[in-house]
Structures are given as structure tokens and as C-alpha cells.
């Protein structure tokens, strides 16, 4: 019994070992003639699904551009691009175990994740803000004393709020929505007075509301998070190729065009506009490409 257990343990260790010493993603792509992209179902205009297995968005389209650049560099006549839907729960393990080669969605580059995976240069800097009803008169986080604030379970915004709670910045009541649509419903129905979340998600939710003019994004930036593509750790050759591809997109102005397409123009499926101009923080990240974690952006 014990021996068979030990054998099992050894087999598992050997199996996980093969992933760990894979000879690098570039070699894998070359050998298999395919690359697997991690895509998201609903991460705002950054990455979302149109149904029918079609995945679009600013970061998704950027990922396809990176893949074409890789194909050219590797001199492959044909490169099969597979997509794998990931969630916040499984994205890191799926990249680690080799299921996904490159994940471009809404993953925040932070120090905890850098222990497990590597990040490409930052391509979008998310600013956590709050959305309020336009007639509420709330202009800053200080105006929330005694009010109810909603945010979505399983997001970093919850932690941002909690830190404010410990610091004792105005006592407010917190509620948590199951997903972004649920959180926005609580704001819309008056159960909550403010919705704290990533700026682009707020802008997207407002643009899809029954009457977008009833809501506005107000107050200061509560937290800043660099969003970047994620890949396996300790694969400098692959990281360099991806980084170079992104830097080329920035230099040629392609990335700015993509930003305009997804954040300022009407986007499918409903033809609504997110209407979020390029932020100073994102501009700065493009001017000096880097893969610094969130902790280096400390306010």
C-alpha cells in the first residue's frame, strides 16, 4: 500500500517535472505548429466573448498581433492559433502547466503572481475608480461616510476598500455583487450608493445602462494596477519575443489604434461606446515599456 502510494507520488512528480523542464515555449510552438492563447469571457473591453467561440477585445486582438509577429520571426508558413477560455481562478495554473502559452486578458501584474509566472511589458494601466448616480452629489471617497458601497466578489477592488476601512477613512457599509452586472444592478436599484471597480469596467457598465446619463464616474483614483500578458516563468527567449512584438506595436502606433478601436469607437455586440480616453498612466507605460509589478505603482 505504502509502496504504491510512493510510486504514485513519484509518477506525479515526474509528470509535473516534464512541464517544468519543457525546452521553452518557442521550441514548443515550432515543434507543434500551434500556440494556445488564454482568452476571457467577460473582462470588459480588454477581452470578452461574442459567443460562437469568438473572442475579441483590446488585449485579445493585441495577442493575435503578437502571434503574427512570432510567426514571422520563427519563419513558420502556418501557425495554428488555439484559444482556451480562462477564469481568474484557473489562469495562473493553466499557464504554469503548459495548457496556455500566452494569456492576454485582464491579469494584474503583481509581486505574488511574479513568483509563479512572468509578465510581458505593461500594455494597459487600470485605475480603480467609483461610479455613482449622477444626482447623488458624491464627489470623492470622503463623501461616502454612512453610505453603502458595492464591489464585485473576487476582485482586487475588495482589498482596496478593505485597506481604506482599516485606515478609518469614513465609515461606509460594503456589499458584494456576484459579478459586475450584479454589482451595477445594486447601484442602479439604489441598494448601493457607489460602485468601486476598474475604470474601464465601470465605463462599460454605464455605457450599457438603460440611461447612461444617470450615472457618472466620480472621485479620485483609488488604486493603480498594471495589466499585462502572462506567460511561463523562466523562459527569457519567449518573453523577449513577446516584449519585442509589443514594443513594435507601440512604436508603429498600432497599439494606439487598437486602443481607439476598443475604447472610443462603438464595439460589438451592441455597438455601444466605452468612451474611456487613454489615461496618463497607460501613456507613461507605453512611453517606457516595463514589467514592474503593481507594488511599484504604490500611491
Amino acid at each position: 500500500m505504502k509502496k504504491s502510494l510512493m510510486f504514485l507520488a513519484a509518477a506525479i512528480a515526474a509528470a509535473s517535472g516534464t512541464f517544468a523542464r519543457a525546452e521553452g515555449t518557442l521550441a514548443k510552438i515550432k515543434a507543434s505548429g500551434s500556440i494556445t492563447l488564454g482568452v476571457r469571457e467577460s473582462s470588459g473591453a480588454l477581452a470578452y466573448s461574442l459567443g460562437d467561440g469568438k473572442y475579441v477585445g483590446f488585449h485579445t486582438e493585441m495577442a493575435y498581433r503578437i502571434v503574427s509577429a512570432l510567426q514571422k520571426r520563427l519563419g513558420l508558413p502556418k501557425l495554428d492559433v488555439k484559444t482556451q477560455v480562462v477564469t481568474s481562478q484557473n489562469r495562473v495554473p493553466l499557464v504554469q502547466n503548459g495548457t496556455v502559452d500566452l494569456e492576454c486578458g485582464s491579469t494584474t501584474n503583481n509581486a505574488a503572481r511574479q513568483k509563479d509566472v512572468a509578465f510581458a511589458v505593461t500594455t494597459y494601466v487600470e485605475e480603480v475608480r467609483m461610479a455613482v448616480r449622477a444626482d447623488s452629489g458624491i464627489a470623492s471617497i470622503g463623501g461616502l461616510a454612512g453610505k453603502t458601497v458595492v464591489t464585485t466578489t473576487g476582485t482586487t477592488s475588495v482589498r482596496t476598500l478593505r485597506k481604506r476601512e482599516r485606515a478609518g477613512v469614513g465609515a461606509f457599509k460594503e456589499v458584494f455583487g456576484k459579478d459586475h452586472a450584479d454589482s451595477f444592478l445594486l447601484l442602479e436599484s439604489g441598494r448601493a450608493d457607489a460602485f468601486v471597480m476598474d475604470g474601464q469596467i465601470l465605463a462599460g457598465a454605464i455605457s450599457r445602462a438603460k440611461r447612461p446619463s444617470d450615472f457618472k464616474i466620480a472621485g479620485e483614483v483609488l488604486s493603480v494596477e498594471p495589466i499585462a500578458c502572462m506567460m511561463r516563468k523562466d523562459d527569457p527567449a519567449f518573453k523577449k519575443e513577446v516584449d519585442d512584438a509589443i514594443k513594435a506595436l507601440i512604436a508603429s502606433g498600432e497599439l494606439a489604434k487598437l486602443y481607439d478601436k476598443w475604447f472610443l469607437q462603438p464595439i460589438p455586440p451592441a455597438g455601444t461606446k466605452v468612451g474611456l480616453p487613454l489615461s496618463a498612466a497607460t501613456k507613461a507605460a507605453w512611453a517606457r515599456p516595463n514589467d514592474k509589478p503593481m507594488e511599484d505603482y504604490a500611491d
Partner: protein, 242 residues
């Protein structure tokens, strides 16, 4: 992959100094919602189950039948949203009711429909002569149910009630959807913050298993204490004394 269990000693930066203390508080919420829902479900379930078999008139059996179908046919998550989003829109006073109370109500009503069916089955498993004997002694129908029918029927249905009680604990995970900071919400939130999903989910799974197992043992003890020798078939199976 490497384990990093020390993640539970990290500081989440809020009311709780460490993740494991937060997790224990979340376990408390899970237990609070489950136990209140279970009490509600047992009271309502026995009542509705008895009414399902009520011999006098047609109103009560039909009412109880409608109750069971309504709460059994609609998915639990949908019921929770009805309680949380739809009812407060109709009755604004309900906006002040906290999410945990709504979750306990929704879970309790949902489970009551299932328990009612088990109680009905228990009552119908008894020989009809039992109720007739009670009525022949001059008991009213209500007295007959309380003194003669239910004491026997409830003993019969303890085993299915055990699984129902364990289900309540597991179903309580939907309470996260209405902003109750119970175990499932803790798991979703903490794994996002710490990026150590496997450790967090394993620990939470462990706590669910412990909860369900505790319920199982309590119900087994109840079953043993309440047993009437010679009444239930389980007694014949378990008792090799004979």
C-alpha cells in the same frame, strides 16, 4: 507545483489580521446561515408535509402541494435573487433586511419543500390503520397527527433528513451571491488576492467536509436516541442482538 500554506498567515489588510482568522469567521457565517435555514426548513417542512396528507377537505393538501412545487421547481440561485432583487423592488421596506437573513429564508423555504416531500412519504409509509385507530379513540385530526402519526413518521424519515441537513450546508454556498461573507465568498476573494487558489480551496473544502460530517454524526446520534425497538426496519438491520 509547490505548496505555500503560509499564505494563511498573511495579512489581508482589513478587519482580520490574518487569512485564517478571516476564514474561520467565514465558516461561522456559513454555519449561521445553514443552521437558521435548517431550523426554518424543519419546522416548515414538517408542517407542509403533514398538510400534504391532511384528510379533511381539499384546501390544505392543495396549498401544501403548491408550496412544494413552487419551491422545488425553481433553482435555488434564482430563488435567492428573487428574495434579494425582486421582492425589495416590490416592497421597499425589505431593502433594509440584511443579505444573510434573506439567504437563510431562501435556503430554508427551498429546503422545506424537499423535507415536506420526505415527511409526506414517511406518513404514507405508515399503515393507515394507525391513523384510523387514533381517530377511533376520539382524537381530532390534529391531535392524531401530533400524538400518533408524526412521532412514527419522523422516525422513519431521519435517514433522508440527514442528507438534507448536509445539503443545507453545501447549498449555503449560494449565499455569497447576496453579499454574505461565507466560505465560498472567502475562497473566491482570497484566492484572487493571494494567487494561491489550490491551498485556499483545499482548506475551504476541508471545512465544508468537517461541517457536513458533524451534521451527519449529530443526526446519527439523534437516530439512535429516537429509535423505538421493533418500529423501524433499520432497527432490525442494525440490531444483531436478536
Amino acid at each position: 507545483m509547490t505548496w505555500r500554506w503560509e499564505v494563511f498567515l498573511e495579512d489581508p489588510g482589513g478587519r482580520y489580521p490574518t487569512y485564517w482568522q478571516w476564514m474561520l469567521s467565514a465558516w461561522g457565517w456559513t454555519a449561521a446561515v445553514s443552521v437558521s435555514a435548517l431550523i426554518l426548513a424543519l419546522l416548515l417542512g414538517v408542517l407542509i408535509g403533514a398538510l400534504r396528507t391532511w384528510p379533511d377537505g381539499v384546501f390544505w393538501p392543495r396549498f401544501a402541494g403548491a408550496w412544494v412545487e413552487a419551491f422545488r421547481s425553481v433553482p435555488l440561485l434564482v430563488q435567492i435573487f428573487l428574495w434579494y432583487h425582486v421582492l425589495p423592488a416590490i416592497f421597499p421596506a425589505m431593502k433594509r433586511v440584511p443579505g444573510c437573513a434573506l439567504a437563510a429564508l431562501a435556503l430554508g423555504f427551498f429546503t422545506s419543500a424537499r423535507i415536506a416531500e420526505q415527511v409526506r412519504a414517511g406518513i404514507q409509509s405508515l399503515p393507515p390503520g394507525r391513523r384510523d385507530a387514533g381517530l377511533a379513540l376520539g382524537l381530532t385530526t390534529a391531535q392524531c397527527y401530533r400524538r400518533v402519526v408524526l412521532p412514527a413518521a419522523l422516525r422513519v424519515v431521519i435517514p433522508p433528513l440527514t442528507s438534507e441537513a448536509m445539503n443545507v450546508f453545501k447549498n449555503s454556498s449560494v449565499a455569497f451571491a447576496v453579499s454574505v461573507s461565507e466560505l465560498t465568498m472567502f475562497a473566491m476573494q482570497a484566492q484572487e488576492e493571494t494567487s494561491r487558489g489550490v491551498e485556499i480551496y483545499l482548506a475551504v473544502t476541508g471545512l465544508y467536509v468537517i461541517s457536513a460530517l458533524a451534521v451527519n454524526r449529530i443526526m446519527a446520534a439523534v437516530e439512535k436516541r429516537a429509535r423505538i425497538p421493533g418500529l423501524v426496519a433499520a432497527d432490525a438491520l442494525a440490531g444483531d442482538r436478536r
